[in-house]
């Protein structure tokens, strides 16, 4: 049990890297698409809806395979400089995870934007605050604060999602556990130890979000 710990921990580092980078890109994507979703133009609106519908309606594994195996099939992508990125499983995983979590994040933020009381915006308008400042100073902070609990869940879902990276040859925590299982034929030790590490990470994320919620939580 102790002998497999170092290799599992090195896998956990990869898992955390994958998680951090996909959450970062996912947040940016989610924010953009949430803004597109509340746009009044039906075409922009529908486009953003289609994006989130596709990524929320299909399994993450399909998205990962589509990007890892599928994109390599397109001739001009293979000849362009994108090939440097999409030939690496690591970047494919980050692209797939970012797009996936981006879709969920956009839904979380959209519902947060839509539940902001109209009175706040009207008050800002009557005070002569410009639309841009209303958005950045009033709508956005409230939306972020309101979506904290749901976003915390999304981080944990994504942490679990990163385990799929192991099926496209990335040696993350799950990949290391699989390797240990194959080398030692001790599935219980390998997977239960990995499970404990996953639970530990979940526990830490959960508590950080709880702390942030307490500190910045928004009461209406």
């Amino acid at each position: 049990m102790i002998s497999i710990f170092p290799s599992l921990l090195s896998g956990a580092v990869i898992t955390l890297q994958l998680l951090a980078s996909s959450m970062f890109f996912g947040l940016i994507i989610g924010l953009i698409f949430a803004i597109l979703r509340i746009n009044k133009n039906p075409i922009i609106n529908k486009f953003a809806y289609a994006y989130s519908y596709f990524f929320r309606g299909t399994p993450l594994l399909v998205q990962l395979y589509l990007i890892y195996y599928g994109l390599a099939n397109i001739e001009f992508l293979r000849n362009s400089f994108f090939w440097v990125i999409i030939k690496e499983p690591y970047w494919c995983a980050i692209i797939a995870f970012s797009l996936n979590t981006g879709a969920y994040t956009s839904e979380i933020l959209r519902s947060a934007f839509q539940t902001i009381k109209k009175g706040y915006i009207e008050a800002a308008q009557s005070l002569g605050v410009t639309k841009k400042i209303t958005f950045y100073r009033i709508q956005l902070p409230i939306a972020i604060k309101q979506s904290l609990p749901a976003y915390g869940n999304e981080i944990i879902l994504m942490l679990k999602g990163t385990s799929l990276a192991s099926v496209i040859t990335i040696m993350d925590l799950m990949g290391e556990a699989r390797k240990v299982n194959v080398l030692t034929f001790k599935p219980f030790e390998a997977f239960i130890t990995a499970g404990i590490i996953y639970l530990f990470i979940t526990f830490i994320i959960h508590n950080i979000i709880k702390f942030l919620e307490k500190k910045y939580g928004f009461q209406t």
């Binding site: 299909t58 589509l66 195996y69 397109i74």
Partner: protein, 230 residues
Amino acid sequence: MELLSFGDTGWGDELFFATLMTIAVSITAMAIGFLFALIFTPLKLSKIKTLNIIGNCYTTIIRGVPELLIIYLLFFGGTGAAMYVASIFGYDGYIELNAFITGALAIGIISGAYSTEVFRGAILSIDKGQFEASKVLGIKKSIQFYKIILPQMLRLSIPNLSNVWQITLKDTSLISVTGLVEIMRQSYIAAGSTRDPLFFYSIAAVLYLILTYLSMNLINKLEIKYSKGY
């Protein structure tokens, strides 16, 4: 398009049966999840501390650990355990567990954890007065549960159970790693032998979208039907 034709030359019939397999696994897993939820929801709501801890451990651990890990644990661990048990009875050959049963069980355990949370929320949102009223009327606890609480709990949980169903349906794609031929596995095989992964994984994505779309519509209809009069 001829890649999708039915018969020996195309993958249409294979993908069709794979879709049926996905539906079958999802429904089985959802049913197993229901059983788990019906066992663990009372534990989570129990006033006895030990039972409470058992219930909480189940939902916390299962929801905090990757789905893939539970599938691997059951698949590899299950094989090992089955062989160990068999070796006690003097059988030393290799035993392979049925991929359908282990897969459905693994996804069922996961979906059960989510269903437990849904049921718990539903029971907590039932008005306290109803428990008190039935107590005053001298209704037995078991009858109170089956005739008063359970029907309302099910009605209240329909919207959230539709989320659990979606999660379960998408999780079944993970069983493909154990070799069960469902949509994902079939597309993997087809993509491998035709060297056209883009096409077949797109088909897989479309099939999943159709499944989620149809089931959402069905559940919405159920929700409207059962919320009549409220």
